[in-house]
């Protein structure tokens, strides 16, 4: 940490300087600085949605890339997500007021029989960090839990996680039930967990297998972009 860098006065930066500074501060997990910068941009008349997408989500995208590439690891990502959350807390009520488009809503949980939740918790934090709304069903979910929640709210994505080779086949039970009920095509189904791979994701009929939390965020964004394009076409 150098003296020079400690002396950055956020309010004196121009918009063009402040946005990259926000990206850097997110990268370093500096919550107070993020909150200060969000207030500065609001005071300068920025739309909440622009602050969310151009400053915060973009900053977390960079964090996600370096996490995926093995440059950052979980502790740094948790700090970054925590800083992002600080900014989101300020923006959330304003986003609702201004009718900003939502990035996407997700239901997530580990499948029946599986009590390992660290991976799922990381995905939740990263997805929220990227601006998604996430309903976390916790561990050990039978198929009804997922389906009831999907039907009860306005969701776009279902995420399922399993750490055990003995529990991962249950993901297929959930997807098959969705097909039976004619609701499979209404949702993007993402699966993840240490023993899974792409081949498994395809074999059980998921839309994608996500290797880690960063990939989950990128994949969710791609599917949401496709969905928005289809709606506006």
């Amino acid at each position: 940490m150098s003296e020079e860098q400690d002396d950055i006065i956020l309010s004196e930066l121009s918009d063009d300087e402040l946005v990259p500074q926000i990206h850097d501060d997110l990268y370093d997990g500096m919550k107070e600085e993020i909150e200060e910068s969000v207030h500065i941009l609001l005071d300068r008349g920025w739309m909440p949605y622009d602050i969310l997408t151009k400053a915060l989500v973009e900053g977390m995208r960079i964090v996600g890339i370096d996490f995926r590439d093995g440059i950052l690891f979980v502790p740094e990502v948790l700090l970054a997500a925590n800083a992002m959350k600080g900014g989101m807390t300020i923006l959330k009520p304003l986003l609702a007021e201004t009718g900003a488009p939502r990035l996407g809503n997700m239901v997530i949980g580990t499948v029946k029989g599986d009590i390992h939740d660290i991976g799922k918790n990381l995905v939740t934090m990263m997805m929220e960090g990227a601006g998604f709304e996430v309903k976390d069903l916790g561990i050990n979910n039978p198929v009804e839990n997922y389906l009831d929640e999907l039907e009860a709210g306005e969701y776009d994505i279902l995420g399922m996680s399993a750490l055990l080779t003995t529990t991962m086949p249950y993901m297929k039970v959930v997807i098959d039930t969705m097909v039976e009920k004619g609701m499979r095509d209404d949702y993007v189904v993402l699966v993840g967990g240490a023993p899974l791979n792409e081949e498994f994701g395809k074999a059980i009929g998921a839309d994608a297998y996500c290797r880690d939390a960063a990939v989950a965020v990128e994949t969710a964004k791609e599917f949401m972009a496709t969905k928005h394009n289809q709606l506006s076409a």
Partner: protein, 337 residues
């Protein structure tokens, strides 16, 4: 170090540890989602069978059925008040099985991670973590465990908390971490970092190493990393029996007994002294490993290329150690991680 372990190493040059606990118990009918530790009281006969299977296959040491037997994990089954009791019984069964055997068998009391995140944005404090590990350690020692064995850890903070708990109960202990993320632990620790951490500990383990993780190749690379970092105590290698594959609706580990025998030899050549398996490793694998270790003299330290040629590719280009250039973090950072 435990005299028993020292004696075994002096006699044969290695210690054959056990294989999978979960895979074996699932084969005996454990339902996914149930706590394996409950079987210590519900089906002690099956736990006896689990331990006996490893001994009959030639293991010198086995881990007790107490991996998730800490209050934090048992809470998920509303059994948080039974951590000490269930751990104690897992060791009592182990003691009984070991004492019936006509050769020296080490009962290692297994302690898994809490599953909680520690550190700046975590939910678990150091003090609480020490308390959780200490409670379980008491139970395991009361039940007659020879040594305590921390396994599958990913956070240095949690390893340190466990070390403090071991000191508080005066246990002889060892501990492995799981290197499953680009050759590091989930929390970013490299093999070299771990070797350094262990050496610098006030109440250091008598042995340290790696378990579980991705595949045998990655685990062997990690063991090499420990050796190259100048490990000053025995290294433990406990890798999975290959990589899980989904075949016709069930899961199958692709590591055959032959593959695991090759892995055992490479692990010893790479510098490991205490060698076993993790997920997917069954008694037939252990028997093949013992046979190979006994009938083959220790060889040269393998190169990374030799490892991939025998065991398959690594999951990542590098593991954050040595001279491999690691990609540089971004500019203008205000704090160094």
């Amino acid at each position: 170090m435990s005299n028993k372990i020292k004696k075994i190493i002096d006699r044969q040059g290695f210690v054959l540890a056990d294989g999978a606990t979960g895979t074996n118990l699932f084969n005996m009918g454990l339902m996914a989602g149930d706590a394996p530790e409950m079987w210590n009281v519900e089906h002690p006969d099956r736990i006896t069978k689990l331990y006996q299977g490893a001994i009959d296959a030639g293991s010198d040491l086995f881990l007790t059925n107490s991996f998730g037997g800490n209050a934090s994990r048992l809470k998920l089954h509303n059994a948080q008040s039974r951590a000490r009791e269930l751990s104690r019984i897992s060791a009592e069964i182990g003691r009984e099985v070991a004492d019936k055997c006509n050769r020296d068998i080490v009962v290692a009391g297994s302690i898994g991670p809490t599953g909680e995140i520690m550190g700046e944005v975590g939910t678990l404090t150091h003090e609480v973590a020490v308390e959780i590990f200490e409670e379980q350690a008491h139970g395991l020692l009361e039940g007659g465990a020879d040594v305590l064995w921390i396994e599958t850890f990913s956070a240095p903070e949690e390893y340190a908390a466990a070390s403090e708990a071991m000191e508080n109960v005066g246990a002889d202990w060892c501990g492995t971490m799981s290197f499953d993320t680009a050759g590091r632990t989930m929390m970013g620790m490299t093999s070299a970092d771990m070797a350094k951490m262990v050496t610098g500990m006030d109440y250091a383990p008598f042995a340290f190493g790696a378990n579980c993780g991705v595949g045998a190749s990655d685990l062997l690379r990690t063991v090499l990393g420990f050796s190259e970092a100048g490990a000053d105590r025995p290294i433990i290698a406990k890798g999975n029996a290959g990589i899980p594959k989904y075949v016709d609706g069930h899961i199958h580990y692709d590591g055959t007994p032959h593959v695991m025998a090759e892995y055992a030899l490479l692990a010893r050549n790479a510098g490991a002294t205490i060698i076993g398996g993790c997920c997917g490793t069954m008694p037939e694998h252990l028997a093949a490993m013992r046979e190979a270790l006994v009938s083959t003299p220790k060889g040269e330290k393998p190169s990374l290329d030799m490892i991939t040629a025998t065991m398959g590719a690594f999951s990542s280009d590098n593991d954050g150690t040595g001279d491999t250039p690691v990609k540089q973090p971004r500019r203008n950072r205000r704090r160094a991680h």
